[in-house]
């Protein structure tokens, strides 16, 4: 842990200088709201792997369905025949002729 990190306990103690009787759980809820807001500003980079299914076009990125919490995808790689991940291009015009619903 970095020497100047704040734990939740330390944040609560700073808040309680002004609001001494506030329930701990409520402050934790507000801290999580703050984290959600900060998360919008590209602070945390993560990677995830997905398995493709033959002839299936769509893969879930939703927070509840995919098991990962994605704010923005900035790169996608696909495995080549040697097992290496190679960057694939993003299609700007996504109105393709043959659109699957699966």
């Amino acid at each position: 842990m970095a020497s100047r990190s704040l734990t939740v306990k330390q944040i609560i103690s700073r808040v309680r200088q002004i609001f001494p009787s506030l329930p701990e759980q409520y402050i934790i809820t507000l801290i999580n709201d703050a984290l959600l807001e900060i998360g919008m500003y590209r602070t945390k980079v993560e990677y995830a792997k997905a398995t493709t299914v033959a002839d299936q076009m769509w893969y879930d990125l939703s927070d509840s369905g995919s098991g990962i919490e994605v704010n923005k995808v900035f790169r996608v790689d696909f495995m080549d025949s040697d097992g290496n991940y190679i960057k694939i291009p993003r299609l700007i015009e996504n109105e393709i002729l043959k659109m699957d619903i699966t």
Binding site: S5, L6, R14, T43, K49, A50, I88
Partner: protein, 143 residues
């Protein structure tokens, strides 16, 4: 299964609609096929275990215990205090009529402090790129 694509950068692409990721390919059959020719965009045509690697900006993990440390850069930790105080002063403004105006003022002060930290200095705080920048020119040597 393993991939059979030698150059996926040439034959596989992706796009995103809402919270769905589409993986498509231009591989396909000959001209006799119906909308399945090579060059037509269509769903990825093979099952590859862990075949897709997604790089993304993620949401920080939530905290649940007082011993937790917020899952963001420590430069943003003090800003969390501002965010919490901003919300609490706004709560107080709504619950105590005698303190409405000063509470709103303090709420706005802390909100501005949080937003300034996040947006005005945000890139500096979150960006860890450093060092002198140099321009690498083309190599003019002709072999």
């Amino acid at each position: 299964m393993a991939s059979t694509k030698d150059h996926p950068e040439e034959t596989v692409a992706y796009f995103i609609v809402g919270d769905k990721l589409a993986i498509i390919t231009t591989d396909g059959g000959d001209a006799s096929t119906v909308h399945n020719r090579r060059g037509d965009f269509k769903a990825i045509d093979e099952a590859v275990t862990n075949g897709v690697l997604i790089h993304y900006y993620a949401e920080p993990n939530a905290v649940s215990a007082i011993t937790d440390t917020p899952d963001v850069d420590n430069s943003m930790h003090a800003s969390i205090v501002d965010f919490v105080k901003s919300k609490l002063y706004m709560d107080r403004a709504g619950s105590d009529p005698n303190l409405t105006q000063p509470s709103i003022t303090l709420s706005q002060f802390h909100e501005k402090s949080f937003i300034d930290s996040l947006r005005k200095h945000g890139s500096r705080k979150r960006d860890k790129i450093g060092g002198a920048r140099v321009i690498k020119t083309f190599d003019f040597n002709i072999d």
